[in-house]
Structures are given as C-alpha cells and as structure tokens.
C-alpha cells in the first residue's frame, strides 16, 4: 500500500446545487476529502446520492444548470473552480481525466478510435508531430492489449470491454496524475468486469495513478480502493481505509449497506434490509439525512446535522452516536 505522503487533490466543504423549476436540488453538500498521490479512493453510494456530480465537479464539468455554491477543489494547491477556461482545458485530460459508465455512448460514433486519440493529443500538445502522436497511441494500445488494426475501427465495431479499455487509454494518453472512474464496470459482464479491474490495477502501478473510483458496487471498491468514502444524500457519511470500513463500519448507513449485499463467500440466512428510501434533495429537512431510515436513531439526529469527525487515525464518520460517546 502506498504511503500517505502527499495530498494531490483536496476537496474542501464543496456544495453543488441545481436550480430546477420547482426548487433547488442540493446534490452535494459540504463534502470534504483528500486524495493522496498514488492512492485509490472509492466513492460509494446509491444512485442519486451525488457521487457522480461530485466526480464531474472535480473537472468543473457538472452539468448545467448545476453550480457550485461553496467550497474549493484544490489540485496541487490550485483551486480548479477558479481556474481560467484555458487552464481548465489543459488540466482536463492532462492532469485529471475521467472514465464513464457507458463506454459505448462515451465514444463519438462518427470518429474512429485513432481520431479520438489524435484529437486528445492535438488539443494538449499541438506541437507534437503526427508521427510521434501515432507512435504514442500505438504504445498505449499495446499496454491495453488491443490490436493495432482496431485504430481504424469505429466504436460500434468494438465489444463492450474493448471500448472501456479504449476509454482508459484515452484517459491515460496524456499521462495524468488522477483518473476519475465513474461506475466504469456497471455496463460490463462479470468476467469482463474482472478483466477490467485487473487492467486498471496494473495501469495504476505503471502510470503511478491516483484513482477516484465512483461506484455503488461494494465488491469492486473492496478490490480496488485503498480508502473508501461513503456518500448518502449529497453528504459524506464515513471515510476510512477499506479494511476499516469493512471490518468496523461506524455509521449505521455503512453498516446497513455492507450487510445488505449478498456475499458469494458467505452463507447468509437473511439479509439485513434498510426500509425506506433516500430523502428528496429539494426540501431536505434539518438533521442527519439518514435519520428517517436509521435503526439507531436518537433525538438529536433529527435536529442537527452531524459533521464528519475523525474517530480513529484514518477513520471519520458523520454520526451523532460516536460524538456522544466522545462527548
């Protein structure tokens, strides 16, 4: 496991809101976390919890009309949110890049694989001669284990796994520090998914990557991530190392989440269930967002929103249960 030595990305108290016709959706609220050089962080949560918005906002790409209502995103000390457009373009792909959930729809159907690559190179390094660019693309393909003849093909001619590998290649071609993978395997079959995981892990060491893995798949984070941040209703509930989270989950939501997933290695008689559904992000009540579903709810949970507090080295949680114990 890499040492936690240098923070490469720091998100400070980030809030993002979408004004819609019937109100304001608070998709992300007061989220803070750090990402260290070479670290793989898993961002886990169910659909609609704001994890994708958060991922996109790191590239300042959250979809309009969403806007950042507070906080900072510092990449090596520079606030991405206040970067100029020009600097942003440079940063995207070259410092931080992204892989998306659906590899078929993430590739332009009218462009060949090669054109995707060359275009990306061109916009980051216009001076690079075409031959050198081609060579770089060729090398990348080799790394990905894709035949070179595929370069002339269009996305629809490739299989799902192949497309996702092309997506990784495109993300890595400019040699970024950070790669944000938003549900990269959701559309893939299990065996292909496993292959993709292997590839990602090997690339991680080759390119010395920091990874933010956004997923709802606990199995996947367990395999990839060093540290896990659990998100619920736009807020971070718990952040800890992967071992810690699975061994001693603090937050009742995290506990529920882990317990309700069928595990192939264990014989489960009954699954733990969490009744109810996540709150409406438009009119969110005060207090912990999980309170209405929480089996261990106490009065204060419904009145005040708990902050994310460190309870152990590299283990923080936003839950009144533990603050009380301390207090």
């Amino acid at each position: 496991m890499p040492q936690l030595e240098k923070t490469i990305l720091e998100v400070q108290d980030l809030s993002i809101a979408y004004p819609i016709t019937i109100g304001v959706v608070r998709a992300v609220e007061g989220v803070s976390f750090t990402l260290d050089d070479g670290e793989a962080l898993g961002l886990v949560g169910e659909s609609g919890c704001g994890k994708s918005t958060l991922g996109l906002s790191i590239l300042k790409l959250h979809r309009p009309p969403g806007r950042v209502t507070g906080g900072k995103i510092l990449y090596r000390g520079t606030d991405i949110l206040s970067m100029s457009d020009r600097a942003l373009l440079k940063m995207r792909g070259q410092n931080i890049s992204m892989i998306f959930q659906n590899p078929l729809t993430s590739l332009n159907p009218l462009f060949t694989v090669e054109k995707h690559f060359l275009e990306t190179i061109h916009f980051h390094d216009a001076s690079m001669p075409r031959e050198r660019a081609r060579a770089a693309v060729g090398k990348m393909l080799e790394t990905l284990g894709i035949e070179k003849k595929r370069l002339k093909e269009y996305p629809h001619q490739l299989s799902g796994g192949m497309r996702q590998r092309i997506m990784i290649g495109l993300a890595l071609i400019m040699n970024p520090d950070i790669i944000i993978a938003d549900e990269p395997t959701t559309s893939l079959d299990v065996i292909v998914e496993a292959g993709f995981t292997d590839l990602l892990m090997s690339l991680r060491s080759i390119y010395k990557l920091s990874i933010i893995l956004i997923t709802h798949n606990l199995g996947l984070v367990a395999e990839i991530a060093d540290r896990i941040a659990v998100m619920y209703a736009g807020r971070l509930m718990e952040v800890a190392t992967t071992e810690e989270i699975f061994a001693h989950p603090l937050h009742p939501y995290t506990q529920g989440l882990i317990a309700c997933v069928p595990n192939i290695l264990v014989d489960q008689k009954e699954l733990v269930t969490m009744p109810g559904s996540p709150p409406d992000l438009v009119d969110r009540p005060a207090g912990c967002p999980f309170a209405p579903r929480c089996p261990q709810v106490i009065p204060i949970c419904r009145q005040k929103t708990p902050a994310l507090i460190q309870h152990a080295p590299s283990h923080s949680a936003a839950c009144w249960l533990y603050r009380q114990k301390e207090g």
């Binding site: 332009n108 009218l110 275009e119």
Partner: protein, 321 residues
Amino acid sequence: MVFVMLTLVFVVLRVMPGDPVSAMLGGHAPEKVIQQKKADLGLNKPIGMQYLDYMGKLAHLDLGESMIFKQKVSQPILEKLPATLELTFFGLLLSLGIGIPLGVFAARRRRSGRDYGARLYANVVYCIPVFWMGLLLQLVFGIFLGWFPIAGRTSPRVEVSAFSKTGFYIVDTLRIGNFAAFGDVMWHLVLPSVTLGIVLSGIFVRLTRANMLDVLKSDYILAARARGVPERRVVYNHGLRNALIPIVTMLGLQFALLLAGAILTESTFSWPGMGRLLLERIYLRDYPVIQGVIVVYTLFVSVISLVVDLLYAAIDPRVKY
C-alpha cells in the same frame, strides 16, 4: 411510392368532373368531333384499360401527350423543371443556412433568452403562409423600395432565347459568359428564394435545436470535454456532426414541404415552374400533363430520399450497404 401516388392521382383525375375535350374544343364542335377526339385520346375506354395503357407507356418512360396543347407531356415539364430546381435549390440552401446555425445557437443554452428567441423565430416563421411572406416582400422590396423584381425569371429585355439551352438560366448565362444576364437571373431569384428559404428555415431551426439538445446531452460530449477538447470543437465537431445525422434523415420529408412551398412561391412570384404548370393544367383538366407533373414530383421526392440514404450511409459509419 411512384406507383402508389400515380394510381391515386390517376383515380382522382378520372373521377374529377369536367371534360378536357369539350374544354379544348370550341363551342362549335359537333358531337361527332368530340366523340372522335375522345376516341383518339383513349378517353372512351373503361378506366381500368386507360390505367393499364398509361402504366404501360410509363414503363417505357413515355408520359404521353397533352390533351389541350398538341405537345408531348415531357416538353412543358422539361421547360419548367429547371425553374423549379433553381428555386428549390436556393430556397433549401438559404433555409439550411439560417436554420442550422440558429438551431445550434438556441441549443447551446437551453431555456435561455436566446433559446426562446430562436424558438419564437422558428414558430413564427413556420406559421407565415409562404404566399403572404412573398406578397409582403413584394410589397416592401418590389413596390415600395423598388429594389428587386417581383416576378418572372428574367427581365423582359433579357432575351432568353439568346442563352437558353439547359433551362437552368444560371448555368446557361454563365456558359456563354453573359454576366449581365446572369446578374439579372440572380436578381430575379432573390425574393422568391428568400421567401421560400425563410419560411422553411423555421423547421430547420426546430430540427437542429431538438437534435443538438439530444446530442449535447450524450455521454461522448461530456467525455470529450473531460479530455480537454475545446468547447467550440465539442459543439461543432462532435455535436453538430452527430446532430446532422437525424437532420439528414429528415431532409427527405422536409423536401416535400419545400416542394409544396415552391408551388405557392411560384404562384406568387409568377415563377414559370412545375407548380404553376400543375395549377394551370388542373384548371384545364389536362390529365396527361397533370399526371406527368405528379410523376416528376414523385420521382423527385424518391430521388431525394435515395440521396438522403446514401448521404446517411456516407456520414454515419454505423450504416452499411
């Protein structure tokens, strides 16, 4: 399609009241002569037979002869077709030229002032009757300001017979290098094609906007942005190119609208094209010519949809033939 339309039109024409033979002959014609003419034209046969005769001839690319004027049907059609083609070509060019940029402009900021503005333009323009638009332009630019001619393809002083060969006056005048005449021909094209172009541009604004909105929502746009591709290129190279695919496929249908608009434009601007020919011959009940015009229109539409298909295959790598 040609077959279906022809059959339909054939039936419609045969149940139409009015007798082309007595219309064409003077009031003095004796009954014997009328019957003779009808026999000559095959009008006394049962409709089924007439239909088979006609289809048989058509298979040999023979459109028959006019009943009113003693001419082959192909003759007036070949004379008028170039006029319609010139008009529709420039009309289409203009409507695409206005519609697509405006549609992109609107789609880039959904529900902004400029989006609503462009949509309002599209709706208003679409609801302007072509002929009214033409008349207003005539009134303002032809009558009040006197800048443009309001009718015909050439000025009366331009001797058409001096250059007319293909019937495409633009080509003909350039071919013999008569730039004065070329200017005159272009000059006459302005108001009719602007009329047609503006009225149709509304549709293309709508089409482009809707498709751009769809495309701009797609993942590859986001992915391109995430790779650091500049916005202009994202919109035009990734976005518009993909949005054009559905627009191209719709082009065939828009073409029918264009032709319908062309009829009204031709009638308003006294443009000697197919539309006017059709109207004139409908009044005269000149069946063979009416049928001939319909054949040409249908072929026209079919050819366009073929071209659209080919174009579609050319721009979309997912389509293979």
